[in-house]
Assembly symmetry: C2
């Protein structure tokens, strides 16, 4: 029986007429935990069901992915139960976990069941956490339906939920059985959602590949070559997270833009005025680049290059005035140690340092820099 996906790092990378029905052809024996599979063309409707390998299969969707993604693929999936939860970051919490655990319990799912998560970063983080903790862990697969999830959230095994306005405060590290990436889902995304994911693509270029940065910064959002960029980001993120799965060192470079970005997200979440993850991260990258400039890790020219492109793509957002609240939120960042604020900052373009100590004064200056743009 054929295997129609091909694993990450295999030669080619093109997926014309991608069709999700691939999933049915996955041969479980070819998958390791943490496999990345780019879906290929379906040539055959014959179904080699995952059902043979699992006692039961659940598909977790939210009302958005149920409408835009699930309906297109459900007939091609093996026999399964559909589990539906409300969409969005506002529901990335324990109440939604309780709903998922309740559904799994009611459906008599045992330890040999599989949960397939069809959604963006929020659902992948939450659904993965629920699967990793249900009966002390069942297998799960992530089918990321947003750019953000494809290039970032679904790779690397970070799972979790928000708690008391703190982002991802509760969670575990656990690899999905597989991540199945189908770029055709990008066509279903609103522009704002696509743009949000683009922030992570930009981040990956800035900290790892100056040539790729030069390539993207001459184009606007619509002109980007998504096939190449998804591949580039997945390759980079997978290599970093495999070298340092539990974020003891190297993996921390992926947090560039996220220390301030997460604080902003938490701030707006608490205000009931949520902004998209990528929008917050774009703001964070501007301010953290300023701090890198202040520490002479990048030049003024490089700072201006980064700032002007990020503002071109994301526009200038309203920056809250409550510096002390933002600083307190920054202090809750999981990378901090001994009450010091630690950041990942660029070192020139294409490299980054982690665990750079940042003072509250530098933080405040970076807030003012953003306001002054």
């Amino acid at each position: 029986m054929g295997f129609f996906g091909y694993k990450y790092k295999n030669q080619s990378f093109s997926f014309p007429q991608i069709n999700f029905v691939l999933l049915c052809f996955l041969d479980n024996s070819t998958m390791d935990h943490g496999s990345i599979i780019f879906s290929g063309i379906l040539k055959n409707q014959e179904i080699l069901s995952l059902k043979d390998n699992y006692s039961q299969i659940g598909v977790l969707a939210d009302s958005n992915t149920k409408t835009h993604c699930y309906s297109a693929i459900k007939n091609a999936l093996p026999i399964h139960h559909l589990l539906e939860v409300p969409p969005g970051e506002d529901h990335k919490n324990l109440d939604t976990c309780k709903l998922v655990w309740q559904l799994l319990t009611d459906m008599n799912f045992d330890r040999h069941a599989l949960l397939i998560i069809l959604g963006g970063g929020v659902l992948g983080d939450l659904g993965g956490f629920c699967a990793a903790t249900y009966k002390r862990g069942i297998d799960f697969m992530i089918v990321p339906t947003t750019l953000l999830a494809q290039v970032d959230a679904s790779i690397g095994g970070k799972l979790g939920i928000d708690f008391q306005h703190y982002k991802n405060q509760i969670g575990v590290f656990c690899q999905p059985k597989a991540t199945i990436i189908d770029p055709s889902f990008l066509n279903t995304l609103p522009e704002r959602e696509l743009r949000s994911g683009f922030a992570e693509v930009i981040k990956h270029c800035l900290i790892s590949d100056s040539a790729q940065w030069q390539a993207i910064r001459t184009k606007n959002l619509k002109e980007q070559d998504w096939t190449t960029l998804v591949h580039h980001s997945v390759e980079f993120k997978k290599s970093v997270t495999e070298k340092d799965p539990h974020e003891k060192g190297l993996r921390k470079i992926l947090n560039f833009g996220h220390t301030i970005g997460h604080a902003l997200e938490s701030y707006f979440l608490a205000e009931g005025n949520r902004i998209f993850h990528g929008e917050a991260i774009a703001m964070g990258m501007v301010m953290e680049s300023f701090i890198a400039f202040h520490k002479e890790m990048i030049t003024e020219t490089e700072l201006n290059e980064i700032t002007s492109y990020l503002i071109q793509i994301f526009e200038k957002q309203e920056m809250p005035w409550g510096d002390s609240a933002l600083i307190q939120l920054t202090r809750q960042d999981k990378k901090n140690r001994d009450n010091k604020i630690l950041m990942a900052l660029p070192e020139g373009i294409g490299k980054a340092q982690w665990d750079v100590t940042v003072s509250e004064e530098e933080l405040e200056k970076s807030f003012d820099y953003y306001r002054s743009i």
Copy 2:
């Protein structure tokens, strides 16, 4: 600086005048995840604090261990925060987890903090789960204060909480940084609590060591040699869980008595009429031994030997009449697969088989056997 504990499997095993202040002398570099440390005599009040290795230290206790254990050792501990939660299985739930997570958040605990859990099996399971999920996991140590926790719950990295009356429905596998066993805590236990832990000691003998079984079954509860028995049980459980940490095979033998025992616990939990874990497991061992006899895995003499000793120690308990409710609860057992009820059953004395399929009819017969005693 001396290391006053000694690791499991080292030569001697005696702890006269055990004093908990040992904890302050633990050299973090000598501990691997999953270390078992038997505490020794404190000869020196000098404190080499764990504080040097951790950003902050929390001690999690419930109101029982706060009174009976914490008060005796608090002055000898490094600088720490005390976190207190309500005691008992009734509080082994998400609400108590939320309280712990909230306290850790309020105290600004970062990823480099340590949680020391001072309690029995319930608190070890719950506190370990909270630590393993707070900011995707901080280090924790378990200081088991009951016999049950010392010989069973604190060894092997199974963590979790109850959910909707299902025992340990939500949890993870995660090894504590260390388990520190001080048998002097056994002196603080009420007899019923000691007897509850004895059920696991009996189970370990029945499935692994017929000579030890013959040794214990000639003595009543008060005559047992706890030093030897704690050592024996820890050695056996650690060897099994190291060979099969995620319960793919061998580890399942530890579930002898637990398929029916857990169902009974869940039943009584739902009824608001809780019995102790060991009491349920003792009932489970009687009934599951009957099933083993029915399947010709043990002789009638062996069955009678097991039943009569368990009834001598634990007395006959009231057996509920709701067979179908008990069967439904048994079906939720985490070891089941493909909707089959699977059990670990003794094969003679001193050995066991796992994944033995049991029919509903056999279950009902075993219930009737217990009623007929």
